[in-house]
């Protein structure tokens, strides 16, 4: 039986100007590569040094990066892991346009003008009948069409991952039917359903309770040597990870937002079972070269 290739993904946080270590320092240094063309170059360098995928929140910025990757031909060497919705952008937008109702109107307008007629019809049904299932499906179809139109039809869209804020809010509310609907719809669309969560142990526990197969999904969750953002504790997350039926976890925040040195961070990941891959943000060409070389050396492709 063949062993699945490890996923070494370029993360997009630096491309949005995000530093979870210190936003203030990042702003002062102004060293985050927010120019899409330069971000595409960093991805290209990462690919040359062992990266094989790109994990990104779907936004105008990352869609523009996909466009550059398509133009320079790199898109065909990448597996894409798209996170939707780009929740923080929507939260910010809600502040500008008058809260949740204003935001809903704006999103409906965007979908209506997207030219995706199936999505529009499904969405209309959803609004008229207050059918949340139809609205969720409409939104998913709309986001996937945006990715495909920027990346091109040949691009390998491996997984569509539900954003942490949405996953964890649904988890808090125990909305098992939303998770089921998402998994079923994605599998029917030929995509691996994914969940980005800050509550890894709870998500796995709930999925077991709800009998949602953990074999069919990927989970993107923080794993790092110092237990940063590992909720409720590093020990609990490690224990839950060991109990998974197969390697389906994409470890994120492995550098604890730059707090750890790559070598020690990757050494810790190498000790963990059931890791499908890792996503790491890079902000400089040197980082891109060193990080992905090191990941290949320490974690290997197989």
């Amino acid at each position: 039986m063949g062993v699945e290739e490890k996923a070494f993904l370029v993360g997009d946080n630096p491309f949005h100007g995000i530093s979870h270590l210190s936003q203030e320092r990042s702003r002062i240094r102004g060293d985050t590569p927010t120019n899409p063309e330069y971000a595409a170059k960093l991805i290209q360098i990462s690919l040359e040094n062992g990266a094989n995928g790109f994990m990104f929140s779907v936004s105008e910025k990352t869609l523009s990066i996909l466009n550059f990757l398509k133009k320079n031909g790199d898109i065909n060497r990448l597996s894409l892991y798209a996170i939707i919705p780009y929740a923080y952008e929507y939260v910010r937008l809600a502040s500008k346009v008058g809260g949740v109702p204003g935001l809903a109107k704006k999103v409906v307008k965007q979908i209506a003008f997207s030219g995706n007629f199936n999505a529009v019809a499904l969405g209309l049904k959803g609004v008229l009948k207050a059918d949340l299932g139809s609205l969720v499906k409409t939104y998913l179809a709309y986001e996937i069409s945006r990715i495909r139109s920027s990346a091109g039809k040949q691009a390998e869209l491996n997984s569509v991952i539900l954003h942490q804020l949405v996953t964890d809010m649904c988890l808090g509310f125990n909305l098992s039917w939303i998770f089921r609907l998402y998994v079923d719809w994605m599998l029917k669309a030929g995509l691996k359903p994914g969940f980005n969560t800050g509550n890894f142990a709870l998500l796995v526990k709930k999925f077991k309770e709800w009998e949602i197969s953990l074999k069919d999904i990927v989970i993107a969750a923080p794993f790092n040597k110092i237990g940063f953002q590992m909720v409720p504790s590093k020990e609990e997350c490690e224990k839950t990870l060991a109990e998974l039926p197969k390697p389906n976890v994409l470890a994120i925040s492995i550098l604890a937002a730059g707090y750890l040195k790559p070598e020690e961070a990757i050494d810790y990941i190498a000790t963990l079972p059931n890791i499908k891959g890792v996503a790491v943000g890079v902000s400089k060409e040197k980082h891109a070269r060193e990080t992905f070389k090191l990941l290949n050396e320490k974690l290997g492709r197989t």
Partner: protein
């Protein structure tokens, strides 16, 4: 503990989800005036009652209510909840009310009810600001002599004046600046407004930026700069530079640095300050504040910041506007 949430915008959803994840809390009812939102809420939550007005919450025998509506509605809703004895314990998202007069009245109503009351100044639950508070109480930098505070966001950055965006009905002082004012009061107890300048930048009727000079007891002076039209603030940010007789503390949402006159310095990131919680949604501080409120109600304790303390923020914001003319 049976809880209801009034106002199901983004903050209502966030608090409701966290409350549902706290084992001691039972989310009994949700209230929103929007027909469409109620329709969706009913489809989403089969086991939680959804109502259209606050007085209908009386049928649920509630222990506590969260008010997460726009600020202008905090006062009338809280007043109804107290006067109709719907729930003795209230949590209100910041700010407590639209002005000090309303806040004062809510403080009196809260006192008469005898329940726990709290306002959602979540930055008090951020590990960096908590560490700063501890260091200041320990007099690690000696006696405070001055402070400079900021509260910035890019929410209205790059929007042209008169655009249909940026038509917020709430000024930046109550929207964002209140966090810095609350923290300044937490660190220093009392403040007086000396000078203030507020201006609309893109909004029509409310301020988008403010610059304030404060004084406190023992000759302490402070400055506050607030704006929602600053570039590169993907998330709203609040920070302080506090000078003391023996050193300085620089603190923001992510990190804290203390430099002593002796030459010694220390730095802490969130990573160093045990920034973990049992359930993480949005930021760890949201779980901490909700958990604090729930535990305070269950153990007949008092919650921080309560209405009395939070009313001081409304008083100072009123004073800033008066001084600015």
């Amino acid at each position: 503990m049976k809880v209801a949430v009034v106002g199901m915008g983004k903050m209502g959803l966030l608090h409701a989800s966290i409350l549902n994840a706290i084992p001691e809390a039972e989310l009994a009812a949700l209230c929103d005036k929007s027909f469409l939102i109620r329709k969706f809420l009913k489809k989403l939550f089969k086991e939680i009652a959804v109502v259209n007005s606050v007085d209908k919450l009386s049928r649920f025998d509630l222990d506590a209510v969260y008010i997460t509506t726009p600020i202008a509605l905090h006062y009338p809703i809280a007043k109804t909840l107290y006067t109709e004895n719907i729930a003795p314990n209230l949590f209100i998202e910041k700010t407590l009310a639209s002005n000090f007069k309303e806040s004062k009245e809510l403080c009196e109503l809260a006192q008469n009810s005898g329940g726990v009351n709290m306002v959602g100044y979540m930055r008090r639950f951020a590990v960096t600001f908590q560490k700063a508070k501890n260091l200041l109480e320990e007099k690690a930098i000696g006696e405070i002599t001055s402070f400079k505070a900021y509260a910035y966001s890019s929410d209205f950055y790059g929007i042209e004046k008169g655009s249909k965006h940026g038509t917020s009905n709430i000024g930046v002082l109550r929207d964002l600046g209140c966090h810095a004012v609350d923290l300044a009061l937490w660190f220093l107890e009392e403040l007086k407004v000396e000078r203030a300048k507020v201006e609309p930048i893109v909004s029509r009727n409310v301020e988008d930026s403010a610059k304030v000079k404060f004084t406190a007891s023992n000759g302490v002076f402070g400055e506050l700069d607030v704006s929602r039209c600053v570039g590169k603030y993907r998330m709203p940010a609040v920070g302080f530079l506090i000078k003391g007789s023996r050193g300085t503390i620089s603190v923001n949402d992510d990190e804290l640095e203390m430099s002593l006159n002796s030459g010694k310095s220390c730095r802490w990131f969130r990573h160093d300050l045990h920034d973990t919680v049992e359930f993480w949604l949005g930021a760890p501080e949201y779980f901490r504040e909700d958990n604090h409120f729930v535990k305070s109600v269950l153990h007949n304790g008092s919650a921080e910041p309560d209405f009395q303390k939070s009313a001081k923020v409304d008083r100072l914001i009123d004073e800033i506007k008066v001084k600015a003319g």
